[in-house]
Symmetry: C2
Subunit: 140 residues, 2 copies
DNA sequence: ACGACGATTACGACGCGTGACAGTTA
DNA sequence: TTAACTGTCACGCGTCGTAATCGTCG
C-alpha cells in the first residue's frame, strides 16, 4: 500500500496523473512547458502535485486533441475558459474571454463537421476495401 | 484553349492532377517518392503523365489519410489491392494479397470506430464550450 | 521565341512529442 | 534500496513549403 502518487492531501503525483489520463509523463511535462497546465503545487522536494480538477483538465485536453488544435490554441482556449470562471461576470475581461471562447467553440464545431465528413468518406472506403478483400476469400 | 495538361491521349500533367484532387504538386511528388503512385508514363521531355485511374487512386489516398495510416502502410494497402486486380484469381498470391487487404480493411474499420468515438466526445465538448461562452453573452 | 508548365535538388520548418542522463526524493 | 521523479538538451519523424536553376511544351 501507500502507493506513490496518492497523498493524504488528495493531490496526485505526475505518474498517477499520467496513468489516469493515458498520457506519458513526458507528455504531461511537455504540456506544462507549453503553458497548458501548471501543477497545483509541488512537494517539498519538487515533485509535481496535481489536483483532481487538473486531471480533468488534462483529460479535456486529450479529448480536444482529435480536433487538431495546436497546443498554443488549446492554451488560449483554456485560458479564456479559466478567465470566464474566475473573473466577475459582466465585466470587461469576461466579455473578451467569452468572445475568445466563443470563437474557439465555433472553430471546434467546424472541425467536428469536417471530421465527420471525412470520417464518412473513410467509412465508405473501409467497407469497399473489405468487400474487395472478401470477394477473393471464397472460404470464409 | 488547348489547356495544358490535357493531352489528346487522355493523360494529364501533374498540375491538372493536383488541382483535380486538391493536393499540391509537391505532395503528389512526395507520394511518388514514397512509392505510392508512379506516373503512368513520362513525356519525351520528362513531364509526369497520369491516367485518370491514377487520379482516382490519388483521391483515394487523400480520403484514407484522415484514418492516420502512414504513407508506408498506404503503400502496402494499395500494393495488395493492385495485386488482387492484376493477379489471376484463386492463385496463391491472390490469397496473400487478399489477406493483407483484409487486414487493412479491418484496421481501417477499427480506426473509423475509434475516430467516431473521439469525434462524439469532441462534439460534446464543443457544445459545452459554446454554452459556457454564451452563458456570458447576455446580449446575442 | 515566348509564356506557362514542369523537373530536380536541397534546405528548412513546424508540431508533437521522445530519449537519454545524471542527480534527487519518497 | 528501489522506484518514482527532477531538469535539460537535443533529436526524430512526418509532411510538406520554398527556392534556385534549368528544361519542356505548344
Amino acid at each position: 500500500m501507500s502507493g506513490p502518487g496518492t497523498q493524504r492531501s488528495g493531490l496526485l503525483q505526475i505518474g498517477e496523473v499520467a496513468e489516469r489520463v493515458g498520457l506519458s509523463l513526458r507528455t504531461v511535462r511537455y504540456y506544462e512547458e507549453q503553458g497548458l497546465l501548471e501543477p497545483a503545487s509541488r512537494s517539498p522536494g519538487g515533485f509535481r502535485l496535481y489536483s483532481t480538477d487538473q486531471v480533468d483538465r488534462l483529460a479535456l485536453i486529450k479529448q480536444m486533441k482529435p480536433l487538431g488544435f495546436t497546443v498554443q490554441e488549446m492554451r488560449e482556449l483554456l485560458d479564456a475558459r479559466d478567465a470566464l470562471r474566475s473573473v466577475p461576470a459582466a465585466s470587461v475581461p469576461a466579455e473578451t474571454a467569452a468572445a475568445t471562447l466563443s470563437e474557439y467553440a465555433d472553430a471546434a464545431a467546424k472541425r467536428c463537421a469536417k471530421l465527420s465528413e471525412q470520417l464518412d468518406q473513410a467509412k465508405g472506403l473501409a467497407g469497399q476495401l473489405r468487400s474487395e478483400a472478401q470477394q477473393h476469400r471464397t472460404t470464409s
